[in-house]
């Protein structure tokens, strides 16, 4: 224990830095940028037989993880900071993904199996004669991106407006979000919807004219993902540290009190919900070209709940925690499913139980405990968590 302590403290001090405005941000952003840049350079510049060569597979995997990290941040913003546990954020992610997928599908043009310049393969297969109206314009990249943002954003707005206005909170809201994504999953599984049914959209060829299989495109996508992740991180951080962020945390900790003080809490919640849905949609848009497929399975409630576990493991109420949690859990998933495929669900289930029962503040909370300035403060922090009857993280300050 005594030997391990200094090492732990050192690691912990990095995380302490992360929590301080300015410095922490630059550490995280720096680490992210340096890692991805180094990986990209190693992939493009080094020969294949070099020991330092990073395979394209790894590049894509990293890109996928970073998309998940962005999705985790979206959940963290509303759950960690506003206390809204959404079990349906996968729906916004998948809708964004479908928007991008439609665009990529149209860009295949006549290179599909059936060689129809207008209709995607699955429509030809279903004997459809013309493009459904909602597919029009999706061949324009800018329009597709716009729709991929507008549709999830609008859905989040309508849903949030209805839910928060009638003060549906807590568990009810969670189950309703789950029902939402479940209903969407059922809908997208139908062939008649015109989104490829069970198989979804796949067989993409290129994006904006760049071959999707080429190493350079993959690296570029990874770099774009990293940049957007950093951008989202910075803007989210700005939001939670602003006056708006303070109100949001107040809503989380004592909504009734905030309302009595004159804040229209439902408005804050709706806009935060929409913002979070937009982030999820962006993550989905970046995800699809990298993995090359989008299908209704992305809507499954299990996917959405998994995101919540990433956040819980990393530590909710801290933006870096969401990123770290998503990366760690997904890395573990990749390794685990390779070694013993049957074991992963056991491990994931156990993770749910252990984190919620023993680590209510996630890894971030664990490390904060080591790095606390004085033992007394740490004890008080624990007490705050334990006595907190509503299960919300009762941080006295806004972490970012």
């Amino acid at each position: 224990m005594s030997a391990a302590n200094p090492v732990l403290e050192k690691i912990a001090s990095v995380f302490t830095d992360l929590r301080q405005p300015g410095k922490g941000t630059s550490v995280l952003v720096g680490v992210l940028l340096v890692t991805t840049l180094a990986m990209s350079a190693a992939n493009l510049l080094l020969p294949v037989d070099s020991p330092l060569y990073v395979s394209t597979y790894t590049i894509t995997l990293m890109g996928k993880y970073l998309c998940f990290a962005m999705l985790a941040m979206a959940v963290d913003i509303i759950w960690g900071y506003c206390g809204i546990l959404s079990l349906g954020h996968g729906a916004f992610f998948a809708l964004g993904g479908y928007g991008m997928g439609m665009c990529l599908m149209r860009q295949i043009g006549d290179r599909g199996v059936y060689g129809n310049p207008e209709l995607p393969d699955f429509m030809v297969f279903l004997n459809w004669q013309e493009l459904p109206w909602y597919w029009f314009g999706m061949d324009q990249f800018w329009f597709a991106v716009l729709m991929a943002l507008a549709v999830p954003g609008l859905l989040a707005f309508v849903f949030g407006w209805l839910a928060f206005r009638s003060r549906v909170t807590g568990v009810y809201l969670s189950i309703m979000t789950q029902a939402l994504t479940y209903a969407l999953m059922l809908a997208f599984f139908r062939n008649e919807m015109g989104f490829g049914g069970n198989n979804g959209l796949t067989d993409f060829k290129d994006i904006l004219g760049f071959d999707l299989q080429a190493d350079a495109t993959r690296v570029a996508l990874l770099l774009i993902t990293t940049l957007l992740l950093v951008l989202v991180f910075l803007s989210s951080r700005a939001i939670v540290q602003s006056r708006l962020g303070r109100v949001i945390v107040a809503v989380r900790d004592a909504e009734a009190r905030a309302r009595f003080l004159g804040y229209r809490t439902e408005r804050y919640k709706v806009w935060l919900f929409v913002y979070s849905a937009l982030i999820a949609a962006v993550a989905g848009m970046l995800y699809v070209p990298q993995v090359g497929i989008i299908n209704p399975g992305e809507f499954s409630p299990l996917n959405s709940i998994e995101v919540v576990v990433w956040v819980a493991v990393g530590g909710r109420g801290t933006l870096y925690g969401a990123i770290v949690g998503a990366l760690l859990v997904n890395y573990a998933k990749t390794r685990f499913t390779a070694i013993m495929p049957d074991g992963w669900l056991f491990a994931l289930g156990a993770l749910f139980v252990i984190v919620t029962v023993y680590l209510p503040r996630g890894l971030a909370g664990l490390l904060q405990r080591f790095s606390s300035d004085t033992p007394a403060q740490s004890a008080r922090q624990d007490a705050a968590v334990d006595s907190d009857t509503d299960g919300r993280v009762s941080g006295r300050e806004v972490n970012a």
Binding site: L85, L162, A163, R165, S166, R167, V168, G170, V171, Y172, S174, I175, M176, Q178, A179, L180, Y182, A183, L186, A187, F189, R190, P301, I305, V308, V309, A312, D342, L345, F346, L348, G349, A350, L351, F352, V353, V355, T356, V357, P360, D388, T389, D390, G391
Partner: protein, 540 residues
């Protein structure tokens, strides 16, 4: 030693032979010679033999005719013995005595020969069976026989009906015979008034031949009598109105059946979520455990499948209930008052349980057998019948509901549960062991879910994902009905089921499901506390 064994086996063989011969001979001796002629007769001769047999043997010949009709009648080439032969699953030919059904053992393919039947003979056999049923059969057989004659109103058949009704029949059969006579009058009579009266007697009858005759009459060009045509039109309208009505009834029954499934799935949740306020996402897996318990019980007692469900109900209650108690003691207790964390932790447990079942059994669906008494259907009239399994499950769901309400309202456990859910601290101060009550309540809710699993195993596939597909629906039912209100769960379950089934013909199953979900989401916006909100101090 060897000789001794040989002697023993010979003795056994003799004994077996004696026992076969010692069987009571139900066939009258007069028939015996005719029967033996069957084995050598040509197809044409067989026809007259069947006639003779019917005369001499009477109702005792019914199994023989039925076996012949099915094409199973064979005879042994050397002994000339008649037998019903059918193949079993492994392709062996099993012989049975035609009249007693006694097992005659596996037959060599070459040693036996089939007694051939052709279509004319089949018709003759069918008629013979119908005559035997009509005079000597049970009530149901008589009805079936009369219904069969409606398709073929020959003079012979009408004479038969006449003699049957003179021999004395129940009012239901007499009613059918009158219908047949009315149909004949409509066909044969030339007096307009008589025909109109016949149509009036036929109007509103749901039997398919009535409908066909009337439709033919209405469409026929040669029919000149306008009064008859008008009456037939009216009668047809009445019939189609009634058919539509029973179609709606059938839809309603399907809806109620789906509702009973939803009720069963949700009722355990109404206890854990509604009364205790604990979100149990592993609730679906409790249902799944119940279904798997049924499977295991059936594997343990393959001889008595009929009783397996009766055993499975308490067994599933114990299995799911004890898993529930374990979950409560191990996890949920530590998360009291933190609903969102409870939700996540129990979701983790549900993943573990699913994967456990997948590892122990298999990821594939398991075959759960439906016992004899639950298969088949109850025909209420020719166009409306209900299957027994759905009917029993509907009744079972109601029984479970009543039991649960009684437990909560009448037993001391129920009193404690209500006390703890209303005011935990006060209950504690009054000496209620709240921790114990929590564990018992959760066990009860989970156990009920297990019992639901037994019922669901009769309707759906039993697989690791069984529970997952019900969890969202169950939550919706509980929330729709009003949390903490068992009656609300009942109403909620049935109304969701009926709504779903009435939407289905217009929209298709999946879309109906989606529409109901969306409507529910909107409903909860409007009335967040459900159909029957809790009133009073406990409400908030």
């Amino acid at each position: 030693m060897k000789r001794f064994l040989l002697g023993c086996s010979l003795l056994l063989a003799m004994l077996a032979g004696v026992s076969v011969q010692a069987q009571p001979d139900t066939v009258p001796p007069a028939v015996e010679t005719t029967l033996q002629k069957l084995t050598t007769a040509s197809l044409r001769e067989t026809g007259s033999l069947v006639e003779q047999l019917e005369h001499a043997g009477g109702p005792a010949m019914r199994p023989l005719f039925a076996t012949m009709l099915a094409g199973d009648l064979h005879y042994h080439k050397t002994t000339g013995q008649l037998m019903a032969v059918s193949k079993n699953a492994s392709g062996e030919r099993l012989g049975r005595d035609v009249f007693t059904g006694a097992d005659l053992g596996v037959q060599e393919r070459r040693a036996i020969k089939k007694i051939r039947v052709n279509n004319r003979l089949r018709g003759q056999l069918r008629d013979a069976i119908g005559r035997i049923d009509l005079i000597h059969g049970s009530e149901a057989a008589k009805r079936a026989a009369v219904l069969a004659t409606l398709d073929d109103l020959s003079t012979d058949n009408m004479r038969l009906l006449q003699s049957a009704s003179q021999a004395g029949v129940s009012s239901a059969v007499a009613d059918l015979i009158e219908l047949a006579q009315a149909m004949v009058r409509l066909r044969d009579s030339s007096v307009s008034e008589e025909r109109v009266a016949a149509i009036e007697a036929m109007s509103g009858r749901l039997e398919a031949p009535v409908r066909n005759q009337l439709r033919r009459l209405v469409e026929s060009e040669s029919e000149q009598d306008t009064a008859v045509k008008a009456a037939a039109h009216k009668a047809l309208d009445k019939i189609s109105g009634r058919i539509e009505f029973y179609g709606q009834m059938e839809q309603l029954f399907f809806g109620l059946s789906l509702g009973s499934v939803l009720l069963l799935a949700a009722i355990g949740l109404a206890i854990t979520f509604g009364v205790m306020g604990v979100i149990n996402m592993a609730h679906g897996e409790m249902i799944m455990l119940g279904a798997y318990t049924t499977y295991v019980i059936q594997q343990l007692m393959p001889e008595s499948i009929g009783y397996s469900l009766v055993v499975a109900v308490p067994a599933a209650f114990v299995v799911s209930g004890s898993v529930g108690v374990l979950i409560e003691r191990g996890v949920i207790r530590h998360l009291q008052g933190r609903p969102l964390e409870t939700l996540l932790a129990t979701f983790g447990i549900s993943l573990i349980l699913q994967q456990a079942v997948r590892s122990i059994f298999s990821p594939l669906n398991m075959q759960v057998v439906t016992p004899e008494w639950m298969s088949g259907s109850l025909a209420i009239n020719p166009v409306f019948s209900v299957t027994y399994n759905r009917l029993y499950i509907l009744l079972f769901a109601l029984a479970v509901f009543v039991t649960l309400v009684t437990i909560l309202k009448r037993s001391s456990l129920g009193l404690n549960v209500r006390a703890v859910s209303q005011n935990r601290d006060m209950a504690k101060a009054m000496g209620v062991r709240t921790e114990m009550v929590d564990a018992m309540t959760f066990g009860l809710g989970s156990g009920i879910a297990g019992v639901a699993g037994v019922a669901l195993s009769q309707l759906t596939n039993v697989g690791p994902n069984l529970g997952q597909s019900y969890i969202i629906d169950s939550f919706m039912v509980v929330v729709f009905g009003g949390v903490g209100n068992l009656l609300g769960t009942l109403v909620g379950g049935f109304s969701l089921g009926v709504a779903n089934k009435f939407l289905e013909p217009a929209t298709g199953a999946v879309l109906a499901n989606i529409i109901v979900l969306v409507c529910l989401i909107l409903f909860i916006q409007k009335r967040p506390k459900g159909l029957f909100p809790q009133r009073g101090r406990a409400a908030e």
